[in-house]
Amino acid sequence: MRPEIVLHSLGYLLQAAGVTIALSLAGIALGFAIGALVCAGRVSRNRALARGAAFYVSFFRGVPLLVQLLFIYYFLAEYGLDVPALVAAIGGLGLSSGAYQAEILRGALNAVPAGQAEAAVALGFSGLEIWRRILLPQALRISAPPLINEFILLLKASSLVSVVGIAELTRVSMNIASMTYRPFEAYLSGGLIYLVINLCLAGFGLYAERRLASGRA
């Protein structure tokens, strides 16, 4: 073990950790937008929309993320679209996460007791108001803990983006490993940084769960 190698390149590693976090945040945000749309499609009464949304979820949850990422890259290259690698990577993470988040949101919507919407109808709320004031606030609250969990999964999955050459935590660990010929130290420290980030996220998730559970009927 030669810890000075790690200390020497700690700056690069931390910078790369920042890229990993930014990448994952952008991916989860894009995924949430896609997930909300797909979820709306799945619960809609329009048959074709529901089918299409179900297909989206099945496809993006069924195909390995690495295949999806390479697919996007080769697709862009095949059709000569000049998109920055970072944008393509975020797009790939978002498309995949959208399928998972759609299911999380759908589960949360189903968890809101049906009696509440019925009560709102009885009280004369309009359809839009029921969504905005009754269903969505509760569904979002229920979905917060699984969404944080999904963020942890996405942060780990973002390591695959290293394969297409983005200088995030895994890629920089690889570079340090090959520059110093000390892969053990390089990957160990890279892995530890992932672990610290994820433990913080998990802690935050527990806190959020407790906070949100306190005000629930």
Partner: protein
């Protein structure tokens, strides 16, 4: 991509699929065995051991699989662990999944209704029998849906092994793509193939679930 190219590379692709299935099944077998062992050790009332297991499980669940593979395959020789790519891949899949399987088994044991053990005690069963005939079977059946789900996730993780040059399907497909300039077609075929595979495995898994959990009490199946 012409069919002629696929035909020419068919032996390599089929071989690659064989390696994929081998890594998947051996990795899952190791993961299930180690995961169950960890859960059983966890049930012994010995705090330091419990902390150690907790720390291992959280470390594995908190780091990317790719990072673990690199550490094992590239870092291993520096601590005297020289493995071939395929061996590292199988051991990596096993170690990775054992953490998740142990959590699944833990939930399974927790879901066995207290009343069942109490009933077994009251009819005079010795503790070993209670474990073998009541607790273990009920817990294992309760975990079937979660295990099937994890097996599906694991089948997708095998693709990552191509990065450390395990000659599985993804690796062979990329070799073909590089040699014949058919990158897009090859990855398109891979996406469709894996999608169908995962759908098929999920369907079989759901069948299995309904068969195995048919005689569960409603209380226990809520795990």
């Amino acid at each position: 991509m012409s069919l002629e190219v696929l035909w020419r590379y068919a032996p390599a692709l089929i071989g690659g699929f064989g390696v994929t299935v081998m890594c998947w099944s051996l990795g899952a077998a190791i993961g299930l065995a180690v995961g169950l062992a960890l859960t059983l050790l966890n049930r012994l009332d010995f705090a330091p051991l419990r902390w150690l297991i907790r720390a291992c499980v959280e470390t594995i669940r908190g780091t990317p699989f790719l990072m673990q593979l690199f550490l094992l395959y590239a870092g291993g020789p520096f601590i005297g662990l020289k493995l071939s790519a395929t061996a590292a891949g199988i051991i990596g899949l096993g170690a990775y999944s054992s953490a998740y399987f142990s959590e699944i088994f833990r939930a399974g044991f927790a879901s066995v209704p207290q009343g069942q053990t109490e009933a077994a005690v009251s009819v005079g069963m010795p503790p070993v029998h209670i474990f073998w005939r009541i607790t273990l079977p009920t817990a294992l059946v309760a975990t079937v849906p979660a295990i099937v789900n994890m097996l599906v996730i694991l089948s997708k993780e095998t693709v990552v092994l191509s990065i450390i040059t395990v000659p599985e399907l993804m690796y062979q497909m990329q070799t073909m793509a590089a040699e014949t300039f058919t990158a897009f077609d090859a990855i398109f075929a891979m996406a469709i193939f894996y999608w169908l595979l995962v759908e098929a495995v999920s369907r079989v898994g759901r069948r299995l679930e309904t068969r195995l959990t048919a005689y569960m009490s409603a209380e226990a199946s809520r795990a």
